[in-house]
């Protein structure tokens, strides 16, 4: 299970891109695609290199403010676990 100490990175098969038609971010992988919220796209962009989940939360908190740290931690973990279940995270270590 992914927690704050886990080191994560986006799987090479997944590609983050901006969709000019709907002005939204999409995460594409073989024959599938996910539409991402702006915050989720921030998190996925940070996954371009291996980081701890804690470091990802810190970066997102920098942008949205310390007051939302609890909510951000919960949302980031939820997103990362969902990506892991889809096989979209690489080098996951406990």
């Amino acid at each position: 299970m992914i927690d704050a100490a886990s080191v994560v990175r986006l799987a090479p098969k997944a590609r983050l891109r901006f969709d000019r038609h709907r002005q939204q971010h999409m995460l594409l992988y073989p024959e599938r695609g996910l539409v991402l919220s702006a915050t989720a796209a921030d998190v996925v962009a940070l996954l371009a290199e291996a980081r701890t989940v804690g470091a990802i939360v810190d970066r997102v908190v920098e942008k949205y403010g310390e007051a939302s740290r609890t909510a951000i931690t919960r949302d980031v973990l939820e997103l990362l676990r969902d990506l892991a279940d889809r096989g979209l995270l690489a080098e996951v270590t406990a």
Partner: protein, 362 residues
């Protein structure tokens, strides 16, 4: 009916193929479709696809590796940020060519396996290319490309689903598609030989379900039921003219890869119209889009938003009218034709396979 946004372009680059699989979904009348779009036409299609909202492109066929301009087409799609999936038999390929495709921006590779053994592969494909496929799979993962293994399931291999999953794991695939045969094209001609029994299917489904749980997060295990046993039809192409556009080798724009087997249609052509006009304006894309065309029992069915009335080609090939409810549906007035095929599957077939070939005597 206003068109939704298409996400996936299925680019059938050629119908040529070194294999002759008995369940090939290409049309039986291959001779009538020998003409192929040139490179310039495909590059135009790529540009028009991006303008229309396409984000995924499946490069398929036939065997797409037989096109000398594959690298050029992949590079064009990548420039438009389209995610490219090469759907291939794995032959003919070299490691150098695959590296060139990756350098051009190819995102993912799907290799079909006809069997887990040489003899079994030859029985289905007419030729033995098993070792070449294994090599292509190894190059794919060693070059860092995500590998999907695709297996078409039928009565002669369904009992060995576990072996296919084990082989896909050994090949370090990220996904294995265990897709039961869909009975169109060559598969319909060979249905008596290919259709499994219900008990075979149930056993295979249990094996696939166990593997899916065990491999979660490491390898995706997709098991596609044959609609002959599903009681409700599959959501063919996610609905007619809704998410997919198929471009046939000769430049026909189609709502699905088998649509040109339907009579009474005039499908738009790359040489005459843009992809955008075809999608939004062409009568052929409008005909079964949405729900207005539906007969009963579809019209008042609460599943009509999820299965879209099933497969139009199957309706035509099994009942003679593409507008009928897909007979795979247990509620369809013509469901008895599927029930009959299922009863016949309980008897061991004695006929021989009919291999895909260019010359067809009907």
């Amino acid at each position: 009916m206003t068109a939704e946004r298409p996400y996936t372009l299925v680019a059938e680059l050629t119908y040529r193929c070194p294999l002759q699989c008995v369940y090939c979904s290409n049309p039986l009348e291959l001779e009538r479709h020998r003409e192929e779009l040139d490179t310039g036409a495909w590059l135009r299609v790529v540009d028009e696809a991006e303008a229309l909202g396409i984000v995924q492109m499946n490069l398929t066929g036939g065997e797409p590796l037989l096109r000398d301009d594959l690298v050029t087409i992949v590079a064009a799609a990548r420039r438009r940020e389209i995610y490219t999936n090469l759907i291939t038999s794995g032959v003919p390929l070299t490691r150098e060519r695959l590296a060139d495709l990756k350098a051009a921006g190819l995102d993912a590779v799907q290799i079909s396996l006809q069997d887990t053994t040489r003899a079994g592969s030859e029985a289905i494909a007419g030729v033995d290319r098993f070792d070449a496929k294994m090599a292509s799979a190894e190059w794919t993962t060693s070059l860092g490309l995500p590998l999907t293994i695709n297996v078409v399931l039928h009565r002669d291999n369904l009992d060995r689903v576990g072996e296919y999953i084990a082989l896909a794991e050994r090949l370090r695939a990220h996904r294995v598609e265990l897709a039961n045969t869909q009975y169109l094209g060559w598969a319909l001609a060979n249905r008596a030989k290919l259709l499994p029994t219900r008990s075979q299917l149930e056993r295979a489904r249990i094996v696939a379900d166990e593997a899916r749980l065990r491999l979660r997060g490491a390898m995706e295990v997709l098991f596609v039921l044959p609609d002959y046993y599903a009681d409700r039809p599959r959501a063919c192409m996610d609905g007619w003219g809704r998410r997919f556009i198929v471009v046939a080798p000769d430049g026909l724009f189609l709502p699905c890869h088998a649509a040109h087997t339907l009579p009474g249609f005039e499908f738009p052509r790359a040489s005459e119209t843009s992809l955008e006009d075809a999608w939004h304006e062409a009568e052929a894309f409008q005909r079964f889009r949405g729900e207005a065309w539906m007969p009963e029992p579809c019209k008042s069915c609460d599943k009509r938003h999820t299965d879209f009335g099933g497969c139009r080609c199957q309706a035509f090939h099994l009942t003679g009218d593409a507008q009928n409810t897909d007979p795979a549906c247990g509620l369809a007035p013509q469901h008895h034709v599927v029930e009959l095929a299922r009863r016949e599957a309980d008897v061991v077939p004695t006929s021989a396979y009919r291999y895909r070939s260019l010359r067809v005597v009907r």
